[in-house]
Symmetry: C2
Subunit: 433 residues, 2 copies
């Protein structure tokens, strides 16, 4: 049997007999001829069935899986400039039911619930599939940027014995008759592993029992976590993050070019130095420019993040903005304070196109500082014993960050609902498929 | 501040003043001089404190985190041929307690429970740390082999609504007042995504509520899953697996060379074609050569796998052996039968150094075949509805495999207990740290 040729490679085989395989994306029966558009992982190919050709005709409904052996022929009006003529079509398997919407139309006509209910077939739509090519390329870029900087990839437990970070949004698990929890982040483990490898990253699922039904929250998402030791402060972490984001954008451009083109996605340029504003300066700017907006909270509301993003674009020409120095009160207990202004932290958020994309910062690294931080928050150190043990053995100054893959992909592609960039989302209402 | 130099790079900086950072791996106080061996992610470096030098002396116990600024000086008897003289040592942070065993001794003196109880510090031992450099390199090789072959990386749900594969070993989760389960494998999802991307892989955690306390089973492990469409049969899957294994070995050799050397690991050569034996032939061989061994079961016991591995090495010079055609009765319901011998399957195990390393095969792809397979096993199709929906829309012939990362690393390094190649193992008794 001749080896398979992908749709995208047809133009290189004009004049040859090839074997194509894929799905009937569309069948168009005209009076004198029938066109089959065959979809494979590389794209679309046109197959011309001769006039009156009835071979396998009645069975060739959309989504039928076919093999086509035929001659590659120049045709400037076909996709890619070549089509298959004199085909012999074999059916490998057929659909039992029709898709819930037409996969061959250029745009997706279905509502989000329909898409999600029928994900295994809906995701075949080229525009929906393309999003996940962008996601996969992004993750590859994340890894290669960190591999090049001496990081080690790790895999840490998703089942943990204690729910330290925020008990209300944690999933409980029956663990051999004991109570366990699904990890909300690899925070403790990645910090512990700074003590082993200095620089680590993990790509893996994290779990949040979010009781809210929003477009930004999921019960499971993919967290791109990194942590590094021997930093002077959070600026060393931000420098690595800048390079990681640049690596992700480059990887999308290089590895997912057809998807970027199909989705008409505008990839950002990542400045060599991403502009930075301290939280207190951001508050002052907001007070001047959004004076009617009530802002008692020591935090930034979504409207503030949008405004600041716009400001960074106008004044610095950057779609990215670091906001640094969030108040300690709004950050987790392991956050390192700013030595010069202890009420503020050596932490940051990275805003991208109006939204917080990444949170990170320098962490405490001394055992005594952890004990003091827990005491200051009135927390019992006992549930934190494993965490505290990490810092009993000499830990370097360190910090890190976490990028939500789905949030990143949504921002990059201008998608509003995080479910649209998740293959099989899990939320308050959805556990299936 | 001058930028940091890694220990392994010292020999390139002889005559220069550098800044080194790391942990005090060992302090040796002789009469006339004190040596500090400093450990960083790249290796070890020797620092010579002048006679009578007391700077930070009392604090420089093992595992103290230090920065050292000093002159790189030739010394053929120092590690790498260079050491640091005229040092100025600053302490970044100190240990609160001593490690549970000496991290500076060439071999690990602690028992496995001690190592696991104190993993954050125990893993700093160079021999323990090295195992995970090998694991990380293996995963990188898995991905790059598949990336080069047109696969797309995916991330699938770890929370599922039904426990289809084997109900007894599944973890239950409280999911917003409903019952959910931790996924035992991404099997359904990766098959569904063959319909979208044709070729997919996932690196992620899988969960097994294994009630047995063995050296081979964990409650969570890292599964390297791949699935591909448009295969003729399981041999196309085996060909990809062969290339993946070769890519993993190459990546370990290239990316983890210091770890391989430290552990004195013998990397296997992967034959261009891995020898293959059908299950029935294997049974006949075993009947001839292990006649006293009772074998009523239509499966291979560990002793049989060991014998067959030895046979493959003797007769084919291969540390790898494919055993194909396992009886359908011993394979999951989605397994594709051998069209020529329907009692046997188009499935395989890959044996490596005496143990089953990978399981895989061709899957059913027609909706009607799934219904028939469930009926033949007397199973109610209702809980399988989501799974069945995948095959209602035209699926190509496909197959795949799953490699347990920890099992792979253990075999590669000759480690007996899977816990020794897991950073923070989870089992019947262990949920912490």
């Amino acid at each position: 049997m001749i080896s398979r040729t992908l749709a995208a490679d047809l133009p290189q085989h004009v004049g040859e007999t090839v074997r194509l395989a894929g799905w009937v994306h569309r069948r168009r029966r005209l009076k004198s001829v029938t066109f089959l558009v065959v979809r494979d992982r590389s794209g679309l190919a046109q197959v011309v069935l001769p006039p009156g050709e009835t071979q396998a005709g009645p069975d060739l409904t959309e989504e039928t899986v076919v093999e086509v052996v035929g001659l590659v022929t120049d045709n400037p009006s076909a996709p890619g400039g070549a089509e298959i003529t004199r085909p012999v079509v074999s059916v490998l398997s057929g659909p039992v039911v029709a898709p819930p919407f037409d996969l061959y139309r250029p745009t997706v006509s279905a509502t989000l619930p329909t898409i999600l209910d029928h994900a295994p077939v809906a995701l075949r739509h080229p525009r929906l599939r393309a999003r996940f090519a962008v996601a996969a390329a992004s993750v590859a870029g994340f890894r290669s940027a960190l591999d090049a900087r001496g990081f080690t990839e790790v895999h840490t437990p998703k089942l943990v014995g204690t729910a330290t970070e925020s008990g209300a949004t944690v999933f409980g698990v029956d663990y051999f008759g004991r109570r366990a929890y699904l990890a909300q982040s690899p925070q403790m483990f990645k910090q512990a592993l700074v003590g082993v490898f200095e620089r680590v990253y993990e790509v893996g699922p994290v779990f949040r029992a979010e009781p809210h039904d929003t477009t930004r929250h999921l019960a499971q998402y993919t967290s791109l976590d990194a942590e590094l030791g021997f930093v002077a402060d959070h600026h060393d972490v931000m420098a690595v993050l800048r390079d990681v984001v640049a690596g992700m954008v480059d990887a999308v451009a290089q590895r997912a070019a057809p998807a970027v083109e199909l989705l008409d996605a505008a990839l950002p340029s990542v400045p060599a130095e991403i502009p930075e504003i301290h939280f207190t300066e951001a508050q002052e700017l907001l007070a001047r420019h959004m004076p009617d907006d009530p802002r008692g909270e020591p935090d930034l509301a979504p409207a503030h993040e949008r405004w600041l993003s716009g400001w960074a674009l106008r004044t610095h020409g950057s779609e990215f903005l670091f906001v640094t120095g969030y108040p300690m009160a709004k950050r987790p207990f392991y956050t390192h304070p700013d030595p010069a202004r202890p009420g503020y932290s050596n932490s940051f958020d990275l805003l991208f196109r109006g939204l917080e994309l990444v949170t990170g910062g320098q962490r405490l690294h001394r055992h005594s500082d952890y004990l003091a931080a827990l005491a200051a928050r009135g927390e019992n150190p006992e549930p934190y014993q494993s965490y505290l043990d990490v810092f009993a053995h000499g830990m370097p100054p360190h910090g890190g960050f976490a990028i939500g893959l789905e949030r990143w992909t949504a921002r990059l592609l201008g998608v509003d609902n995080i479910r649209e960039v998740t293959l099989f989302p899990r939320d308050l209402h959805r556990l299936d498929p």
